[in-house]
């Protein structure tokens, strides 16, 4: 049954989305098995500074003579892990509070929705910069800051989805049975809200990758000696004015990853929305 469903979804993906899916899988594979698939370790100096692409180092070397391909593969781990953890956190927070607002209604809904509006009234990047000026630079802080700020978007979507479900007869029946709020959230709302939330997860993950890369590029994300794709762009950016394109390689990897996710999500969305009459 499940296999059939997967096959069903896959056969409806556009060609662009299939290529996207393939490149996401390649990135995920490389990140998972980084120590085994990368030709060198991430700190090893393998040649001169900013060597061009060669048989020895496939994507050239960086500003210290380290292999860019190996650093890219290892950096993918940080990028995937932090962006993934932040997205998960934002979904746990956002969907729970969003459903809670929709199920409770009244004052709880007002209080939650208005404070959410307030947080969304400041651009995410500005608020993140303000908060990061006092918090220590660590992975946990990054995950929490990104997750909390992004949960506002998840809250808005999940509340909107849940408001439509709350008026259904089966929710009414559950209420009359005397089920409590948590039961209604997890047993009635959640299973029926999964498909729009799943597509949103992809988009939020792509956004988290971009956001993390931006923070690292600004020097406020992952701190050296650890690296992610954004900080690799920062390290190699001085080469650009000498015509050395090293910084474009990690930047291009970010671009390929986010484009791939968008292609897949776009294709899934257009399929499910045609199934559900444009919703």
């Amino acid at each position: 049954m499940k296999n059939n469903l997967m096959h069903d979804i896959f056969s409806h993906l556009s060609w662009g989305a299939r290529i996207g899916l393939l490149s996401i899988l390649i990135f995920a594979f490389a990140a998972t098995f980084a120590p085994w698939v990368s030709p060198f370790t991430q700190d090893e100096i393998v040649g001169d500074v900013w060597e061009p692409i060669s048989a020895h180092s496939w994507l050239g070397t960086d500003q210290l003579g380290r292999d860019i391909l190996s650093r890219l593969i290892h950096g993918a781990r940080n990028t995937f892990f932090i962006a993934g953890a932040a997205t998960l956190l934002s979904f746990f927070m956002g969907t729970f509070l969003g459903f809670l607002a929709a199920v409770s209604g009244g004052r709880t809904d007002q209080a939650l929705s208005r404070s959410n509006d307030l947080l969304m009234a400041i651009p995410t990047l500005i608020f993140a910069l303000v908060v990061l000026s006092v918090l220590p630079a660590s992975m946990a802080v990054l995950i929490v800051v990104m997750g909390v700020l992004d949960s506002t978007r998840v809250f808005r979507l999940s509340r909107a989805v849940a408001v439509d479900i709350v008026v259904m007869d089966y929710v009414e029946a559950a209420r009359l049975r005397g089920e409590n709020t948590l039961w209604i959230i997890f047993r009635e709302i959640l299973p029926n809200a999964l498909s729009p939330l799943f597509a949103e997860f992809g988009l939020r993950f792509a956004f988290a990758v971009l956001f993390l890369s931006t923070l690292s590029f600004l020097g406020l994300g992952i701190q050296p000696p650890d690296a992610d794709w954004g900080s690799m762009v920062k390290e190699n950016k001085d080469g650009i004015v000498f015509g050395i394109p090293a910084a474009l390689i990690p930047a291009g990897a970010i671009a390929i990853l986010t484009i791939s996710i968008n292609l897949v999500v776009d294709s899934i969305l257009s399929r499910t929305s045609s199934l559900k009459g444009g919703r």
Binding site: L129, G219, V233, A255, T258
Partner: protein
């Protein structure tokens, strides 16, 4: 009619009041975000090895030992009177530090807006005209691509080709106060193109969606059956009805431009507010971050408020909610 006008001005005044309230709430949030979180400004200036006495002295000197509420109000009243406080790291007055930078940032952002807004609306209309055809497909694919691209990828790609390989434009975007207008424009050319790319796709996509939405209405079909030319239909029948969503999209993207400009300024080492903000986040210079963050947030909120008011004025239906 008098009642109508009255209700319009009431709505606008209400929205203005809401905007001011929001601004006040944001100032609380920015202040709380830096003051109430774990982490001590005095400690971080002196470093972990400082003696508790030294930290206490510095806290007293900076007025940090006063209750948070008192400090918030003195900060807020200072800002209202134009006093943004002094920098922790350099001891300079924040207002003089900002100096020309606010103007530089607004100059860059508005140059990008002047190019991107008409272009996005034009391309959006072209996409509607050739909808589902090859031009529309091309536009929609480029849209997905540019939405997913990080600003620095576009920026460095443009520097590499336009400035380094082909030598068409300068790669450095440093501007001085005694530069001529033309020199300034040349200096900001590449950052401006980058910013345009960043917002163009989204604006175009929303314009397309807004017009398409209107194109499905019955009166458009009537116009088609009357035998009007397609561009006449789009211009005279669809566009006026799509204007309110388009205004919203345009202004929202201008607000996005205000954020995008931060990253673009760092890429091109452009002396604006974004660079000031990022530099002082790195230095943990909280008063500067608070002041600059509040200015950015205020511009963003004012633009959003402006979008709402414009769409209330442009769309009579919003004035008479059912």
């Amino acid at each position: 009619m008098a009642v109508d006008n009255n209700s319009l001005s009431t709505l606008v005044v209400k929205r203005l009041a809401l905007g001011l309230l929001l601004l006040l709430a944001i100032s609380v949030l920015i202040f709380a975000g830096t003051e109430l979180l774990p982490g001590d400004v005095a400690q971080s200036i002196l470093g972990q090895s400082a003696t508790p006495e030294a930290v206490a002295n510095l806290r007293a000197e900076m007025g940090l030992d006063r209750p948070a509420l008192t400090r918030y109000f003195s900060w807020l009243f200072g800002i209202v009177q134009g006093d943004l406080g002094t920098s922790l790291s350099s001891g300079r007055d924040i207002r003089t530090m900002i100096g020309d930078r606010l103007g530089n940032t607004l100059f860059l952002a508005s140059s990008a807006a002047i190019i991107s807004v008409p272009l996005a609306i034009f391309l959006g209309m072209v996409a509607v005209h050739y909808r589902d055809g090859i031009v529309d497909k091309m536009i929609s694919i480029t849209t997905i691509a540019t939405i997913s691209l990080p600003e620095f990828f576009i920026g460095y790609l443009l520097i590499l080709f336009l400035a380094v390989n082909w030598n068409l434009l300068p790669s450095s975007s440093i501007v001085y106060s005694d530069m001529s207008f033309l020199e300034r424009l040349t200096a900001i050319a590449i950052p401006c193109i980058t910013l345009t790319f960043v917002v163009l796709a989204h604006m175009m996509r929303m314009t397309r969606a807004a017009i398409l939405n209107v194109m499905n209405s019955a009166y458009i079909e009537t116009a088609e059956l009357k035998g009007l030319s397609p561009f006449k239909i789009i211009f005279h029948h669809a566009l006026p009805n799509a204007i309110s969503p388009i205004i919203t999209v345009v202004v929202l993207n201008l607000a996005y431009l205000v954020v995008g400009v931060i990253v673009v300024e760092i890429i091109f080492v452009y002396p604006g507010m974004g660079q000031l903000l990022v530099d002082h986040v790195t230095n943990r210079d909280v008063p500067v971050v608070q002041a600059v963050g509040l200015i950015f947030a205020a511009i963003y909120i004012l633009l959003n408020m402006f979008a709402d008011i414009m769409s209330i004025i442009a769309n009579p239906r919003l004035r008479h909610p059912k």
